[in-house]
């Protein structure tokens, strides 16, 4: 006991000493709820992979900036041929991978060919589907030929799944990621943390941090304790929104609330009766009170949506008024559809709190119009198997976090089981169109179609609720992609 007391006293003294030398910090500890399964963004879908390596360790031809815009990265500039089929990228010179091998056009060809190969395990292989050929013009220039025009090609190349890797190191990126980014992978203590360090020979503007530690804390209570004890400097997505008011009151912290690409929806199996009936889907849309769900499930954080589109996107149309909350009208529509006494259906809920809490509220709202939902909680692996692959479900709640993913409504086999030739032709037009004004018009048309069809219950845009030490600057407010871009982050005194 005496030893323990000594230990406690010693550590208290140490804390005091360290506390005095707090100024000019050049390292940061960032909390994350999930640990990445591996560190290769070209070989897995887990968002946690990008949350560590995107823009920090690995870079692509283009990249997303904090507002979701597409910026040049390893490609300095590009030219698009008149027919929209040829993209000629001029690459940056003097760039080296972290293992010292130089970066050139061969690496670009290798990376893109690897991602679209028959045995590729890229989780977003569709991004590369339109590429028909990648050719090296000279070491500093690469030309990508598409089989048909794709207005979103530069956007696609900014994804984490499209980062450029080197043939020498690609096979080991899962455990030892080698990229061209401003930080070098240092070590991964599995189950605890990943450390990255400043890349002294980086080609671009040097970063202001010497070291970043990503610490994995899954339990929300533990996350709260780690912030309060100042073991962790920031969480870019804090797992428990209910704690945010407490952080707001505390001058040591800042709360950063922004938007994500996560459209949270009540996904509906459009091929199953009674949901195949438009009137039934409209009735559900009228029965849902979005604000009540945001307040109840997300403690007020989130923006109501009326279609599958992010409100911060310039092409967004506010369609939340299309089916306003109106239980009486919902009942009428159900009666018109031949269900005057309502019906029974199932609701499968994956683990995130937006689904588990939101599901209870939606079940209560639908019960008021006569739809009786039987809730079953499922794990992610079960959800993917039952709902997503086998389409064995009536309703489920999930946040679709991929950026600009309205195109999934054009896929007949997708788990919504929604088939609409008109929508598909709009999407085909959009793919072929590169004029910004026309693209906006088409995207707005697409939003209206799925909103009119009430394909799914459109609920809210998931908020990004971050907490950070009050002295940290440069963290992303919004999440145009799931990343923790540390390149612009620094401490002030």
């Amino acid at each position: 006991m005496k030893g323990l007391l000594k230990l406690m006293t010693a550590s208290a003294l140490l804390t005091l000493v360290w506390g005095g030398a707090h100024a000019a910090k050049r390292d940061i500890t960032l909390g994350m709820q999930l640990e990445p399964p591996n560190l290769d963004p070209t070989g897995g879908a887990a968002a946690a992979i990008d949350e560590v390596v995107y823009a920090n360790v690995m870079e692509g031809l283009t990249r997303f900036d904090a507002n979701g815009g597409v910026q040049p990265a390893l490609a300095e500039s590009w030219e698009i041929s008149g027919d929209g089929l040829n993209y000629t990228f001029k690459l940056r010179t003097g760039v080296k991978f972290h293992d010292g091998t130089p970066f050139d056009a061969e690496d670009v060809k290798f990376s893109l060919d690897r991602a679209r190969a028959a045995d590729s395990t890229n989780a977003q292989k569709a991004l590369f589907a339109g590429i028909s050929e990648v050719s090296v013009v000279n070491p500093g220039t690469v030309r990508v030929t598409l089989s048909k025009p794709n207005g979103g090609f530069l956007f696609n190349m900014a994804w984490g799944d499209a980062v450029i890797v080197a043939p020498e190191s690609a096979a080991n990126n899962a455990t030892n990621p080698v990229g061209t980014g401003p930080f070098v992978f240092k070590q991964w203590v599995k189950g605890d943390r990943v450390e990255i360090e400043r890349n002294a020979s980086y080609w671009g503007a040097p970063v202001k941090l010497d070291r970043v530690t990503f610490k994995f804390i899954s339990d929300p209570t533990a996350a709260f304790a780690s912030m309060m004890a100042e073991d962790v400097d920031a969480f870019s997505v804090f797992p428990a929104p209910e704690n945010l008011p407490q952080f707001e009151m505390d001058p040591r912290f800042q709360v950063i609330v922004g938007s994500t690409e996560g459209e949270t929806i009540l996904s509906t199996n459009n091929s199953r009766a009674p949901f195949s009936n438009l009137k039934v889907r409209q009735a559900i849309a009228h029965a849902i009170d979005r604000q009540a769900i945001i307040d109840g499930a997300m403690f007020g954080f989130g923006t109501p949506i009326g279609s599958h589109f992010a409100p911060h996107n310039p092409a967004y149309v506010d369609l939340t008024g299309r089916y306003a909350h109106d239980p009486a009208k919902a009942k009428q529509l159900l009666a018109d559809a031949g269900y005057p006494n309502g019906f029974k259906a199932s609701l499968k809920l994956p683990p995130p709190s937006y689904a588990r809490r939101g599901g209870e509220i939606i079940a209560a709202q639908l019960r008021q119009v006569g739809i009786d939902l039987e809730i079953s909680n499922v794990e992610w692996a079960q959800w993917i198997d039952q709902v997503f692959k086998r389409k064995d479900y009536d309703l489920t709640i999930v946040s679709h976090t991929e950026p600009m993913d309205i195109g999934i409504y054009a896929r007949d086999e997708y788990y919504f089981q929604y088939v609409n030739p008109e929508f598909k032709s709009v999407m085909a037009e959009l793919d072929a169109e590169s004029d910004p004004g026309q693209r906006t018009a088409l995207m707005q048309k697409a939003q209206r179609i799925i909103s009119d069809d009430a394909v799914n219950g459109f609920l809210f845009q998931l908020a990004k609720t971050g907490v950070a030490n009050a002295k940290i600057r440069g963290l992303w407010k919004n999440a145009p992609t799931q990343a923790n871009d540390m390149t612009g982050v620094y401490w002030v005194d």
Partner: protein, 314 residues
């Protein structure tokens, strides 16, 4: 004694074999395919197939069982689906947290329980006995994760003596490592110490009522001398049983405490393996834990024979 040990050893082997079949079968029927889980929502079917064959998931189940068992005999657990490193490496890293934590907690609980139990038994129905019984009742009733949160609240957030969790790694120094394990060990030790104290006390009191104690008293030993010389050794059998069970529990069952303190231990590895469908990790860790529990039980059985000569003669 040898026959006794051999008999125990045979049942150990059979138990292990049965466990391997049960674990393998259970994970076969668990819904959720590791490859589709890893590749997420936008993956194309041919990508999932490519990954399945890369992971060796396309072979028939009996073949995979045999491969797994053959690997186990060679100490080869296979490669983790998600981490892409050998499972043995993962387990080895985690054991360096879980094992010291379990030993630390067990040491604390024994150091508390032995004196407290003997003290309470030797002063039966005195205020000392009542207060020990009261405290242990509380120790059993308080859930250890909640107690852990209270410890964090006091020592990490308010006093700032300890960090709220995490593990720096032994390479940062033994003292730093021990410091990181102190709050978790205390949280784990409290209920264990309480149970152990109560078991020891009642076992001692039972023994004190036996004929041989009366004989010892008649031969002139004081009550306290009789307790130390004769009753304590006889009271050790239930105490050893509980200690063995506690050790197994501490290795396998510290999941919640590991989550509260975000420690990279075995429990969290299994937990994460289950949610991410890293079934090969789940399989391997489960069989290892079964082995640990069976081995501890075996050692406890041997220890019985050591404290109780009657078992040795069988």
């Amino acid at each position: 004694m040898l026959r006794y040990a051999l008999g125990r050893l045979t049942s150990l082997g059979l138990g292990l074999l049965a466990a391997s079949v049960v674990i393998f079968t259970m994970l076969e029927v668990v819904p959720g395919d590791p490859a589709s889980f890893m590749l997420g929502l936008n993956a194309q079917p041919d990508t999932v197939e490519a990954l399945r064959s890369q992971l060796g998931l396309d072979a028939p189940a009996p073949q995979r069982y045999v491969t797994w068992m053959l690997g186990l005999f060679q100490g080869e657990f296979g490669t983790s689906y998600t981490y892409r490193v050998p499972v043995s490496e993962l387990i080895y890293q985690r054991l360096w947290v879980s094992l010291p934590l379990a030993l630390y907690a067990l040491t604390l609980s024994t150091l508390i329980a032995l004196p407290a139990g003997v003290w309470a038994a030797s002063r039966r129905n005195s205020p000392a006995d009542f207060s020990v019984m009261g405290f242990t009742q509380l120790g059993i009733a308080v859930p250890n994760f909640w107690f852990a949160m209270l410890l964090v609240l006091l020592f990490s957030i308010t006093l700032r003596w300890f960090s709220a969790g995490g593990f720096p790694g032994w390479d940062q120094g033994v003292l730093k490592g021990l410091k990181a394990l102190t709050l978790p060990a205390v949280a784990l030790a409290l209920p264990q110490a309480s149970i152990l104290t109560r078991v020891l006390r009642s076992a001692l009191l039972d023994a004190m009522g036996e004929d041989y104690i009366r004989t010892a008293r008649a031969k002139g030993l004081s009550s306290r001398q009789a307790l130390w010389k004769h009753a304590l050794r006889n009271a050790m059998i239930p105490v050893l049983t509980i200690l063995g069970m506690q050790f197994s529990f501490l290795i396998a069952g510290a999941v919640i405490i590991e989550n509260v303190f975000y420690l990279p231990g075995l429990g969290r590895l299994v937990f994460q393996g289950i949610t991410q469908r890293d079934l090969i990790v789940v399989k391997s860790v489960s069989i290892l834990l079964v082995l640990a529990v069976i081995t501890v039980t075996f050692l406890v059985d041997l220890a019985y024979a050591w404290v109780d000569p009657r078992l040795r003669r069988r």
